[in-house]
Amino acid sequence: MSEHERGPQPIAGGASVAEPTFADVNRDVLATLRTPGNVYFAWMCVVGLILTCGILAWTYQIFYGMGAAGKRTPQMWAMYITTFVFWIGIGHAGTLISAVLYLFRARWRTSIYRAAEAMTIFAVLTAGLFPLIHAGRMWFAYFLLPYPNQRYLWPNFKSPLVWDVFAISTYLSISTVFFIVGLVPDIAALRDASTGWRRRVYAMLALGWEGTDRQWRHYRRAYGLFAALATPLVLSVHSVVSWDFAMALVPGWHSTLFAPFFVDGAIFSGFAMVLVLIIPMRHFFGLHAYIRDRHLDAMAKLILVTGLVLTYFYICELFTSWYSGDHFEKASLFWRLTGTYWWALGTMYFCNCIAPLILFWKWARTNTVVLYVVSILVLIGMWFERFNIIVPSLAHAFYPAAWGIYVPTITDSTIIVGSFAWFFILFLGFIKLMPSLSIVEVKETLPAPVKDPRHAGHH
């Protein structure tokens, strides 16, 4: 640890504090990696327990069959795909922040992007489980991968599900690369600040980074290129996911609106999730000096904007299906509004359209409690958005004889709760092993120690 004891102590409660120096950054970030207290382990236990239940439920389902989940004709898809899309959506904020905002040179991103990126990767890892959980014979899921085999059989590249496989694995790989590249200089810093086995491990991960001019040169160029690649990717991934529905015939799915609609929703929910993670993090680690109210404010604004755009899309959706004059579309729409699942639709409209409006007020944007509540509501709302697209549309599709109502079971509910546990266990692990704040980039935003007081006389 650094011996420098100057610089203000972070004050809890988010009151404005003086600009920290480079040394403070190292100290405060390294402080987050201290051996955790009991609270942390208590959290770990709770989450671990839930995860275990989820795993047991999945095992049961694999053994006895999909019947364990409440699916039926006509809802061949239900909560699994809902949650899959939800997590993919969450996985959008990170890369968006680190890539798009990087290209726009939005400097406020620096103090949140590390956590956001980690979140992205974990969200995608969570989402990635769902196609497996969902498949009737998951032990054959590798049929979807293009691997040479004696049967000369290959996947059907026309199927949106295969697009998913490619889009998501690409997204996971690129995000991971981005994440690790960003980490290298920080790990170097950790290496130099730590001792014993930690030092050895960090030394290995740091790839011998020293921050020489040559390294920085290629590093910065590469980083820019990554951003340039990741930006179209981030937009494509959720479009591809939306095509799972848009490419299908089902009334309520078959719409060109879906790609932008989904991408916007993804950013919306992504930022909500970032807030849900950042606010407690800043509280527990006392990072008010770095995650300042203006950061929260900026994210709140983004949530507000994306929320308004989403509202616009909802209106479009209603309008187009009414204006299409297509009997099936209209019947489906009418039923979604009035049928068994009307309450789900209501919840969605409230959480995604009404709730964020409070962020028009400045005090709300900087009030952590309000922000937290709104974010949670947004997450709920976005989960229900996917639910409303999938379940009610299928419930009332083309063929009246096969109309039917889906009812969840213990098994599928448990698995879905378990997926959240899986996500949080990964994140909790991360914040104690890696700097959840980018040392380097934070320093970049700080004013470098420019003037040497001793030499002032010379000029």
């Binding site: 590798y142 049967r151 991971t176 690790i180």
Partner: protein, 190 residues
């Protein structure tokens, strides 16, 4: 990147293993109730395959000779040999001989002998040089092993009775002999 790769690999292996455990197992060359030497019957006595496996030309199954047909010859021929004595016992008890199945295609694959005999495919094409064997053994069916062998460019040992192998033959026949060997999935998988 590395992390992703590792995760991906782990997932892949998991499916691979679990799927392999679901693959239909292949019967090994196992101990038959009666030691039946194909080579003697075919080479020494020049008995045609379809004399014993007489259903091959008219049925889905090649069929096994009835005990009565065996006894047709063996009432006199080599009646003193211990194996033949076993046969005689079965005949006396009027019980069928519980032969152990050797060649087996998976349940979801429909393989009829009849059209293949009609197309004058040699038995050996699929069953190997049975005429030289004392006890017939075979490994059949698609399996992870075969897939993996193929991955690294090695073909599984012929005749594997795997799908790819069937397809090769069908395509080649159609190309060279102008036959109409079906290549439609549902012809065999229904």
């Amino acid at each position: 990147m590395g992390a992703a790769a590792v995760v991906l690999l782990a997932v892949l292996m998991f499916f691979a293993v679990s799927s392999w455990s679901r693959q239909p197992a292949a019967a090994k060359a196992s101990v038959q109730p009666i030691e039946f030497p194909h080579n003697i019957h075919v080479q020494t006595y020049k008995i045609d395959c379809q004399y014993c496996h007489s259903d091959a030309r008219r049925s889905e199954y090649a069929g096994l000779p009835s005990v009565e047909r065996c006894m047709g010859c063996h009432k006199v021929t080599a009646a003193d040999k211990p194996e033949i004595k076993k046969l005689a016992e079965f005949a006396a008890k009027r019980e069928p001989i519980p032969w152990v199945r050797v060649f087996k295609v998976p349940e979801f694959t429909y393989f009829p002998h009849k059209p293949h005999v009609r197309a004058e495919v040699q038995c050996q094409t699929c069953h190997g040089p049975v005429e030289t064997m004392t006890t017939v053994g075979a490994t059949t069916g698609p399996s992870l092993v075969n897939d993996m062998l193929n991955l690294v460019g090695l073909r599984p040992a012929p005749p594997p009775l795997t799908m790819g192998w069937c397809i090769d033959c069908h395509r080649q026949q159609n190309a060279t002999k102008g036959t109409h060997a079906p290549l439609d999935c549902v012809t065999c998988h229904h």
